[in-house]
């Protein structure tokens, strides 16, 4: 690939999605955009770039950006966050709120929906705790194809075997040939919407719990800062933000702080109980 083409594409992708591609990621662009070029009957990536420069083809731009997203996801990814949701976060938030107030959870950058459905399953498994309280899970992603898959709620045998305990598979899925379809009850707990993390998220409403996992890793520092700032704006004063296992916002935000003893969980500064000792 020509250096100029790489520059053109990486700048466009960064502007549209925040995904930062350093020049050692040339192979990634080639692997992902080669097939797209072929599909569009363009000779190669140079042809793709030429087309993008000559006509304003918004769909093509979107396809290019989407092709550069990494959509890897699995049910109950890393286990721990969902365990903490069940044992610590939910009980605390439920205890602090009037019963009629809906619990709102955001799965930001939800990919094919496994995270949102894992949250929904966790909530259903803790029904007694919720005691009839209304729940809304909003799941968003930039990638149209992922949202379609997420909404369908149909997963391959391989996908359901990664992270989903067999007992929960039996309880919440039905078999469709070699695939597995999520129960309507779970599907109705989640509303999937297209949303770009670079944009304002106030329109999504206020959230008690935000999962924003394994997406910040693709952004550079200023972009991460902006995303965290916007999440902080929609987070309830006693809400929490959960990040991926390898992500941290230390040094990136003055509005959020780590919850002591809970790696990867953040809360608005000053919201925690004042230290009981000392």
């Amino acid at each position: 690939m020509q250096a100029a083409d790489f520059q053109f594409l990486s700048a466009l992708i960064k502007e549209r999605s925040g995904i930062a591609l350093s020049s050692d990621k040339t192979y990634l662009l080639e692997n992902r955009l080669g097939p797209l070029a072929a599909q569009r009957r363009l000779n190669d990536i140079a042809g793709l770039v030429a087309r993008m420069k000559s006509v304003r083809d918004e769909q093509l731009i979107r396809d290019v950006v989407e092709a550069m997203t990494t959509n890897e996801s699995l049910f109950f990814r890393d286990g721990k966050p969902f365990e903490l949701l069940r044992t610590a976060i939910l009980p605390r938030i439920v205890a602090a709120r009037p019963k009629e107030r809906p619990l709102r959870i955001w799965s930001a950058a939800c990919s094919s929906g496994q995270e949102a459905y894992s949250i929904a399953i966790t909530l259903l498994e803790e029904e007694a705790l919720l005691a009839g309280r209304p729940v809304e899970i909003v799941a968003t992603d930039i990638a149209t194809s992922m949202l379609i898959k997420a909404k369908a709620g149909v997963y391959s045998q391989f996908e359901v075997q990664r992270g989903l305990p067999i007992r929960l598979l039996l309880k919440y899925f039905t078999q469709k040939g070699t695939n597995w379809e999520i129960a309507p009850r779970l599907r109705s707990m989640v509303s999937f919407r297209q949303h770009n993390m670079l944009g304002e998220c106030a329109g999504l409403g206020r959230f008690d719990i935000v999962f924003c996992r394994n997406v910040l890793i693709y952004f550079d520092e200023p972009t991460k800062k902006g995303v965290i700032e916007r999440i902080a704006q929609v987070l309830a004063p006693d809400g929490v933000l959960l990040l991926g296992a390898v992500e941290t916002i230390i040094g990136l935000s003055t509005r959020l702080e780590i919850v002591p003893g809970a790696a990867g969980i953040y809360r608005p500064v000053g919201s925690g109980p004042r230290a009981a000792v000392a």
Partner: protein, 121 residues
Amino acid sequence: MRTCLIVDDSRVVRTVARRILEELQFASREAGDGQAALAACQEEIPDFVLLDWNMPVMNGLDFLRALRQLPSVRQPIVIFCTTENDINHIQQAIEAGADEYIMKPFASDVLQAKLVQVGLL
């Protein structure tokens, strides 16, 4: 070192599973059918059993039922690993006391994920 018993009538499958499990620091034994597996368990209870369904002499489900009857101080964790991929088989296995279920073809990261789920990793 944790111990496991690999029960499958295919030597190829046993070898593949053994390789994965040894990499995960399990000491493995093998059995080619349910009866041989039961004998192996009577000799020494492993930490977990990776269990095929269709086997000559005694199938996996009959083995599991017999295993759960064994008067033993400790029962192994049992993970089915089989091409019997329909919901009825899975249900039967769980009712007979299986802890987890892997539908073949199985990938090593699926096995690893299941081992984490049952607390063996």
